[in-house]
C-alpha cells in the first residue's frame, strides 16, 4: 500500500500530511453530518408525538417528512468541502516539482507518457472517490437510523422519494 502511494505521488513527497488532513476532514464531516441529521431529525420526530397520560405516544395520523426533506444537503456539506480540499492537493503536488529545484525538467524527460499527471492526479482522484463512497455509506447509515427510529405508522408512503436531492449540495448553496 505504501509503495503504491509512493508510485502515485511526486518522488520524495511526504504523503502523511495529505493523509492526516483527509482523515481529519472526514472525521469532522461525519461529526457535522451526524449533528446536522440528529438536530433536524429530532425536531421532525418530536412533532410526531404527544403526551398522553404522562407518556409520549404518536399522534393520530402524524407522518414524518421524507428522508430527503428531513436532512437536506447540509448534512453532507462537509464531505463536499473535504473533496474540494483534496482537489487542492493537486496544486501542491504540481508545485512540488518547482520547489527547491526544477524536478519538472526530469519529469518531462521521462520516456513514459503521463507520468507527471499520474503522480499529481491519481491519488487525489482515488481519495475523492473514497470520500464519495464514505459519503454514500454515511447517508445510508443516517437513512437506516431514520427508518428504524421512526415509528412504522409515522413513515411516509415513500420515505426515500427524491433521495438524490440529499446530494444536491449546489441547490442549498444557490
Amino acid at each position: 500500500m505504501k509503495k503504491l502511494m509512493q508510485r502515485l505521488s511526486p518522488p520524495g513527497m511526504n504523503v502523511k500530511a495529505e493523509k492526516a488532513i483527509t482523515v481529519i476532514c472526514l472525521i469532522l464531516s461525519a461529526l457535522w453530518g451526524t449533528l446536522y441529521f440528529l438536530t433536524n431529525y429530532i425536531m421532525e420526530r418530536d412533532v410526531l408525538f404527544t403526551v398522553r397520560g404522562g407518556k409520549l405516544v404518536p399522534k393520530q395520523g402524524a407522518v414524518i417528512s421524507e428522508f430527503a426533506m428531513t436532512v437536506d444537503p447540509g448534512m453532507i456539506f462537509g464531505f463536499y468541502v473535504t473533496m474540494l480540499i483534496i482537489a487542492g492537493f493537486t496544486l501542491f503536488r504540481l508545485a512540488y516539482f518547482y520547489q527547491g529545484s526544477k524536478s519538472i525538467y526530469l519529469m518531462r524527460r521521462l520516456p513514459q507518457k503521463g507520468e507527471t499527471a499520474k503522480r499529481v492526479l491519481a491519488l487525489p482522484a482515488l481519495w475523492i472517490a473514497g470520500t464519495a463512497l464514505i459519503m454514500l455509506l454515511f447517508t445510508g447509515l443516517m437513512a437506516a437510523v431514520y427508518l428504524l427510529a421512526t415509528p412504522k405508522g409515522c413513515l411516509p408512503a415513500q420515505p426515500f422519494k427524491d433521495v438524490w436531492e440529499v446530494f444536491a449540495c449546489w441547490k442549498s448553496i444557490s
Binding site: 511526486p10 518522488p11 520524495g12 513527497m13 511526504n14 520547489q99 527547491g100 529545484s101 526544477k102 524536478s103 519538472i104 525538467y105 526530469l106 518531462r108 524527460r109 521521462l110 520516456p111 513514459q112 507518457k113 507520468e115
Partner: protein, 245 residues
C-alpha cells in the same frame, strides 16, 4: 547524431535564438560558451523539448519524442532532482524509468565523491547537490549528456576531479555538451568549442584545429567575441576621471 536545424526561439518578442544550426556526432565533448543571456541554456532546453521553438531538433534523423528522449540526459545548475528524495531513492527512480541506467557507474561515482546515499538531497551542500545532478545525468544511459553550468558552487579541485573522471568513464558513443563560463578550466578536456552570442552561433571549432594554429581556446573566444582588452582601463578612466594604470 543530434541535429539542431534552424532553431528560433523568442521570449515576448525578444529573440533568444536566431536560426541556430548545429550538429553533434557521437563521441564528442563539446564546450558551449557564451556570455550570460547569450542563449546557451535556451538552446539546451529547446533541444530537450523543455521549451517550445521554431525549427526542428532531431536525434539520428527522428524528432525528439517520448520514444527517444531517454537518449538525452540533462544536468543543470538549477538542479532537476527531487530535493526530498535520497540518492538511493533517485537511483531506484532512474532504474524504474530509464532502462539503460548504469548502476555500476552510479555506484562508482557516488563512492568516488563520497556522497551519502541515504540523506535527502535537500540536506546536502551545494557542491554535493551538483555532484549528484551530474552523476544522475551520466548514469542515465543517455548517448547525449547535456550539462548546463553544472559545477557552480564546486571548488576547483572538485571540478578538476570531475573532468578527469568524465574523460575516464565516457564510452565512445557518448557525447557531452557542456555549457560553462570556466573556459580555461575545461580547455584541456573538450574536443570542440561552440560559441554563442545574442542567440547566434558565432564560432565552432575543434580544439585540435586551435592547437595546429598555436592558439589557445581563451584567445579564440576573446577574438571571436571581439573582446577589447582596454575596456577596463577606459571604464575606470571614465568613472574616476583619472588615467587608469
Amino acid at each position: 547524431m543530434l541535429e539542431i536545424n534552424i532553431v528560433k526561439k523568442s521570449y515576448i518578442n525578444k529573440p533568444a535564438l536566431s536560426d541556430v544550426k548545429l550538429s553533434f556526432p557521437r563521441g564528442e565533448i563539446v564546450g558551449l560558451f557564451g556570455e550570460n543571456g547569450a542563449g546557451k541554456t535556451t538552446l539546451m532546453k529547446c533541444a530537450l523539448g523543455l521549451l517550445t521553438y521554431k525549427g526542428n531538433v532531431t536525434l539520428d534523423g527522428a524528432p525528439i519524442t517520448k520514444k527517444n528522449i531517454e537518449k538525452l540526459s540533462f544536468a543543470t545548475g538549477e538542479h532537476s532532482f527531487f530535493p526530498e528524495l535520497t540518492g538511493a531513492g533517485h537511483r531506484d527512480f532512474y532504474k524504474e524509468h530509464f532502462p539503460a541506467f548504469s548502476d555500476k557507474r552510479f555506484q562508482g561515482l557516488t563512492e568516488f565523491f563520497g556522497l551519502p546515499l541515504h540523506r535527502s538531497l535537500r540536506a546536502l551542500s551545494t557542491g554535493q547537490k551538483n555532484q549528484f545532478e551530474v552523476i544522475f545525468a551520466l548514469s542515465q544511459g543517455a548517448d547525449y549528456i547535456l550539462m548546463d553550468e553544472p559545477f557552480t558552487g564546486n571548488d576547483v579541485f572538485n571540478r578538476e576531479d570531475f573532468y578527469k573522471v568524465l574523460l575516464g568513464i565516457l564510452e565512445p558513443h557518448e557525447t557531452v555538451i557542456l555549457s560553462t563560463h570556466l573556459i580555461e578550466e575545461v580547455a584541456d578536456f573538450i574536443g570542440r568549442a561552440v560559441l554563442i552570442r545574442a542567440g547566434r552561433i558565432v564560432g565552432d571549432v575543434k580544439t585540435t584545429e586551435l592547437e595546429d594554429d598555436g592558439k589557445k581556446l581563451i584567445d579564440y573566444v576573446k577574438e571571436t567575441y571581439m573582446y577589447q582588452p582596454d575596456r577596463v582601463s577606459r571604464a575606470l578612466e571614465q568613472i574616476t576621471g583619472e588615467d587608469a594604470l
